[in-house]
């Protein structure tokens, strides 16, 4: 089992883990030859939210080498907090005054403990060399356990819609969060998106009319149900807190596509970097909540 790579884009890596860390203190990272997967699938998560993300190796790393008996895949569980602290130290966006020259990430063993080791070399303000090394403790997962990691099942979504910028959604949901535990999300295939809460004291509905539906959704609907009414709204009720946790990914998002499977779940694809370039995507799965209305 060998693994070594240079981190080329520490800032993006840092922001991805920033979004992940707010969701789960421990995460699973699976490295394959081309893709880094980050998985947060704890059942204890707020409102059942999960993250299944894929980041193209090329978008973060260079000199990437991986070798294992499990088809050159290495899967590990580690503290997202510790990883975040490490990347903060490596990231140039942090306030550290050291100019980072190289960051090498590799699998190592220290005192019988498997670690993901980060070696950062840089320059001080005075231009002298400085080296920082972080060892993040990991648990290497057995292939059998890795095989048991299953993405949640969901039907073909009823609607795909591009969300407004997440930093615009965030203050709105921030206001709604103390008012109601449940948030209704509705969208149609004609650019309409609604966020609503219903309580004894207040009903609040926020509506966007000019969102874009993605091609994928429109072609799918044309193929299968050509006469489906594009104005039909599909809704799902989710935990307000879990939706707010998803919005923490605004730090890394460029484009976000929301899919609604009516009364079942919603899936949110947070694209990292350019949509066309698709360096990676954080996929949030939020199950629908059933309450008596």
């Amino acid at each position: 089992m060998r693994f070594r790579a240079s981190i080329e884009n520490a800032d993006t890596f840092f922001r991805i883990i920033q979004a992940v860390e707010k969701l789960q203190k421990k995460c699973i990272m699976k490295f394959s030859e081309d893709v880094m997967y980050i998985i947060c699938n704890s059942e204890a998560n707020e409102g059942g939210i999960q993250v299944w993300s894929q980041i193209k190796v090329d978008s973060l790393f260079t000199s990437y080498r991986i070798q294992s008996n499990a088809s050159n895949v290495i899967t590990m569980a580690l503290s997202s907090e510790a990883l975040l602290a490490t990347l903060k130290s490596a990231s140039t966006s942090s306030k550290s005054a050291y100019e980072t020259e190289e960051i090498v990430m590799k699998l190592a063993k220290k005192n019988d403990q498997a670690v993901l080791s980060f070696e950062i070399s840089g320059m001080t303000r005075q231009g002298r060399k400085v080296r920082v090394a972080h060892d993040v403790k990991i648990e290497v997962m057995k292939p059998a356990d890795v095989a048991n990691l299953k993405e949640p099942m969901c039907p073909e979504p009823d609607v795909h819609i591009i969300l407004p910028p997440l930093q615009k959604l965030r203050p709105i949901v921030e206001r709604l969060r103390p008012m109601s535990d449940f948030l209704g999300v509705r969208a149609n295939n004609n650019g309409r998106l609604q966020l609503s809460i219903r309580t004894d004291t207040v009903n609040v509905d926020t509506e966007w009319k000019n969102c874009k539906n993605t091609n994928r959704a429109s072609t799918a609907s044309q193929d299968s149900e050509p006469d489906r009414d594009p104005d039909e709204l599909f809704s799902v009720l989710v935990s307000t807190k879990s939706f707010f946790k998803f919005l923490n990914s605004h730090v890394v998002s460029t484009t976000t596509i929301a899919c609604i499977c009516r009364d079942h779940c919603m899936i949110l694809y947070v694209y990292v970097g350019d949509l066309a370039d698709a360096g990676g995507v954080l996929t949030f799965y939020i199950p629908g909540q059933l309450i008596d209305e």
């Binding site: 203050p171 709105i172 206001r175 103390p178 609604q194 926020t206 966007w208």
Partner: protein, 375 residues
């Protein structure tokens, strides 16, 4: 769902209240000034409305919100028989409609986009900062960020057809605020708000449940029983209250009559010749005590009228409830009557230019003294 307001307007009798404003920050600041208890009584009249909040049967806070702070304001009496020609200056005695409302919910709804000048949690949108936004006159340069989002678009999109010329909004054109249209169909109906930032952005509809109004505490202040009257810059009082140790439980106002005018000029000393200050604010906490002495200097106390030495104490927790109102207020009038009833009036400057003759709204707090200080 967002058409509720309009529908009720057409199907039923005209709504009791229809009011709209292109920027809710002033309105929100006035509401925030009395937002220390969630349940507030709102009384609507044709000249504006009053929001009353009380605490512990001791403290009464009232925000007077005049009709002209809105771009559009229409009141239709629920009881058509009521006299419409009353010239009484007390709004309470006029024809009115009253209900109770969860005040904090109303404020949070107005600030749904984080652009109503939040004093609370910093919003992610960037336009609102964690700090309380100070109100500016219409002509002032705005410190709000945001791109040119013209008032035309906002107003037409909101369908607010006020009678006023559009020109006076240009002063605020760079302000990216939240516009609002509010309707109240009458007793038993929710208060409905339609909120939007601009034509391109989202719209929010809020229906806030209203409750039957209950009688509020009455603390009448009779001017002929007044023993102390001070007008000062609000910042002096705000600084004083914020500097006090929060562990203080009692706050005392001490006033002494000004010295006789000698040779046409007053002594400008914090303490009089015999060591007594003009105005002293005194408080005692766990680790010590504090006194703040103010001289009869026009820069500090614009008006100082005191007929006899006055000492009255209040619960600090009650007086510090005024801090939110003090934040956006410019001038404070402090009055105490012979039984210690305290009246604090905070002038809340209107963002509109003086030329429009828009009256400044104000917030008043009245508070009963602590029993042991009754003379």
């Amino acid at each position: 769902m967002s058409q509720n307001g309009e529908e009720s307007e057409e199907v039923h009798l005209p709504p009791v209240l229809k009011a709209s404003v292109h920027d809710v920050r002033y309105f929100a600041a006035l509401l925030r000034g009395v937002n220390f208890v969630n349940r507030a009584t709102v009384t609507i009249t044709k000249t504006g409305f009053v929001v009353v909040v009380e605490e512990a049967r001791t403290l009464l806070a009232t925000a007077y919100i005049f009709a002209d702070i809105f771009d559009e304001y229409t009141y239709n009496s629920e009881s058509p028989a009521a006299p419409q020609d009353s010239q009484n200056s007390e709004p309470e005695e006029e024809d009115n409609s009253a209900f109770e409302i969860p005040l904090n919910t109303l404020i949070e709804c107005l600030n749904i986009f984080g652009t109503a000048g939040s004093s609370g949690s910093a919003a992610g949108a960037g336009a609102a900062t964690g700090k309380y936004k100070k109100w500016k006159r219409g002509g002032d340069d705005s410190d709000q960020e945001g791109d040119d989002d013209d008032a035309h678009g906002r107003r037409s999109s909101n369908g607010t057809g006020g009678n006023k010329s559009i020109d006076h909004y240009f002063g605020n054109a760079a302000d990216k605020g939240t516009g609002m249209r509010m309707t109240y169909a009458g007793s038993g109906f929710p208060l409905t708000l339609l909120i939007a930032e601009d034509a391109a952005g989202p719209t929010t509809t809020c229906e806030i449940t209203t409750y039957e109004a209950e009688a509020n505490l009455q603390l009448p202040f009779e001017p002929d029983r007044m023993v102390l009257k001070i007008i000062l810059k609000s910042s002096w009082l705000r600084d004083a209250l914020s500097e006090l140790d929060p562990s203080c439980d009692k706050l005392t106002f001490i006033g002494n009559p000004p010295p006789a005018v000698i040779n046409g000029k007053q002594r400008q000393q914090p303490r009089l010749a015999n060591g007594t200050p003009m105005l002293r604010i005194q408080a005692a906490g766990t680790f010590g005590s504090t006194e703040m002495d103010y001289p009869n200097d026009r820069d500090v106390l614009e008006t100082f009228e005191c007929t006899r030495p006055v000492t009255f104490s209040y619960r600090f927790g009650h007086i510090s409830r005024t801090l939110r109102a003090l934040q956006s207020s410019t001038k404070t009038s402090l009055r105490i009557d012979d039984e210690g009833l305290l009246s604090l009036q905070f002038l809340m400057p209107s963002p509109k230019a003086k030329a429009e003759a828009a009256a400044d709204a104000f917030i008043e707090f009245r508070c009963l003294p602590l029993d042991d200080e009754l003379v």
